[in-house]
């Protein structure tokens, strides 16, 4: 509850002195609560991270107005993209995105969404993927797994989140590069997939570490290979795909974007805010404990990163015949 001069001025406005007195100072400051749109449902990986960011902002009083999380999971993020693209107040609308930021506009061209038009604010992390099996399968190395899955053919069931999204892209990659015929079953969220694996209802999964951590610690879930550039310190025994002879890495971006048409001042403000969040001890701890990749990126660097990823995803989808 801090009374700024502006707020007193505002009270004068309220008293009927007149509109328009709330002229922006040189630097942007939000004048109302900020819409913090989450491209995924409550309780998912993206939601957890968004709420962690919001919590850090509140804990350290980093912003004068609160971030208000709103979940818009509809249509693999289509609803969120359209909502933010059409936002009336661009300077007070930001969104947490994942890789459906690239794929959804490609798969649903009717939406008229162009990912590159969104204002780049901050890439907070990249989530990593590993290949997991249940320890009951008796498989301990990736080579064993390939031999075994080859024999099983389409009896081998890979579970993952959503259709034609991250998990299936990786599954298709494995099928194509190792001559496998795995069947893919889409589920609603990564937590469910991990549980299905632990209960032996599916044969393998490509969960993010944060989703399956509990089962890994209990020894139920065994990581076989990591889809990263270097081995992850939390899973030193899981080799990378590169070590297995195929140069392939795949990450899930965890970025914050602004509505298209956001003013440069506002963009600078949010970038500074999320830089503070990124540098906080809580965020750094979270990154370490959940094996997250990816440094802080913003501005043109972030937009270039999107461009590269847009093309990679377009190619991947085209290969699957789905773009």
């Amino acid at each position: 509850m801090n009374f700024s001069r502006r707020s007193l001025l505002g009270l004068a406005v309220l008293a009927g002195v007149g509109f328009g007195a709330v002229a922006p100072a040189q630097a942007f400051e939000p004048v109302k609560p900020v819409d913090f749109v989450i491209m995924a449902g409550k309780g998912g990986g993206a939601d957890k991270m968004a709420r962690l960011m919001q919590t850090i902002v509140e804990k350290h009083n980093m912003a004068s107005k609160p971030l208000i999380p709103i979940n818009k999971p509809g249509g693999s993020g289509a609803e969120a993209l359209v909502h933010v693209q059409n936002a009336k107040d661009q300077d007070h609308t930001i969104m947490v995105t994942l890789n459906s930021f690239y794929t959804t506009p490609m798969r649903q061209p009717g939406l008229g969404v162009d990912s590159l038009k969104f204002a780049p604010i901050a890439r907070m992390a990249e989530d990593t993927f590993l290949l997991w099996v249940n320890k009951d399968s008796g498989l301990t190395t990736f080579d064993q797994w390939v031999d075994h899955v080859k024999k099983e053919g389409d009896k081998w069931v890979m579970g993952g989140t959503g259709k034609l999204q991250e998990d299936q892209l990786i599954t298709d990659f494995l099928n194509a590069n190792f001559g496998l015929k795995m069947k893919y079953v889409p589920y609603k969220g990564g937590g469910t997939v991990a549980k299905q694996l632990a209960g032996n209802h599916i044969s393998s999964s490509v969960n993010n570490p944060s989703e399956i951590e509990g089962f890994f610690k209990a020894g139920t879930a065994v990581p076989l290979v990591a889809f990263t550039n270097d081995r992850l310190s939390a899973f030193p025994d899981a080799p990378t795909m590169k070590e297995k002879g195929v140069d392939f890495a795949y990450y899930m971006q965890r970025s914050v974007v602004g509505a298209p048409g956001m003013s440069q001042e506002a963009q600078d403000y949010y970038t500074a805010l999320f830089k503070k969040v990124y540098d906080s001890k809580e965020w750094q701890d979270y990154r370490t404990s959940k094996s997250l990749y990816g440094d802080f990126l913003t501005g043109d660097a972030l937009r270039d990163y999107w461009k590269v990823n847009n093309e990679t995803h377009r190619a991947m989808l085209a290969k699957m015949g789905a773009s």
């Binding site: 509850m1 009374f3 700024s4 502006r6 707020s7 001025l9 505002g10 009270l11 406005v13 309220l14 509109f19 709330v22 004048v31 109302k32 609560p33 819409d35 004068s64 107005k65 609160p66 208000i68 389409d154």
Partner: protein, 165 residues
């Protein structure tokens, strides 16, 4: 009542057909080795809806349900008046939210409902219309952090945001 029963059943049957048609945007058949396609669930269930409507129409012809025998009026004068006034004011309530937001729309609705429909005193009407938005603001916007739409009145709330949020 008898006429309303038939008209409703026909409208719902048309609606069911529309749902079936809309479902065909996805595969409504059985995908080999995969089970039903994406449109199958709504398509066949809408099909059952259609059958139920036809069943209702058959019942109507045979006069075997109470509604198909009833000679009562479906909506008498009182019901129509009530539906137009109350229903209309609810539509007005929601429509006004787009213009003046919840905090403009709610007092207007309460003033109209309490004074015109409820015939309460001005004093009571004004009290309820003034207190309700204040409670809603503190409960939703401040405590629950659910920022309700403000429409064109948004700038008026900036100072309140400064103080309470």
């Amino acid at each position: 009542m008898r006429r309303a029963e038939l008209v409703t059943a026909v409208i719902l049957a048309v609606f069911s057909i529309y749902l079936m048609w809309k479902s065909t945007e996805l595969n409504i058949g059985w995908v080999k080795y995969e089970g039903p396609g994406g449109g199958a669930w709504p398509f066949w269930l809408a099909g059952i809806m259609l059958i139920c409507n036809i069943w209702t129409i058959v019942n109507w012809v045979r006069r075997s349900t109470p509604q198909s025998r009833s000679v009562e009026q479906f909506m008498d004068a009182h019901a129509i008046r009530m539906f137009v006034l109350v229903g209309g004011s609810v539509v007005g309530l929601v429509a006004l939210v787009h213009v003046v937001g919840v905090y403009g729309s709610v007092p207007i609705f309460l003033l109209f409902y309490l004074r015109v429909l409820g015939r309460h005193t001005w004093r009571l009407t004004a009290t309820v219309a003034a207190v309700a938005p204040v409670i809603i603001f503190f409960f939703f916007d401040v405590a629950m952090r659910i920022v309700l739409p403000k429409g064109y009145l948004e700038p008026l709330f900036y100072p309140l945001y400064d103080i309470f949020l």
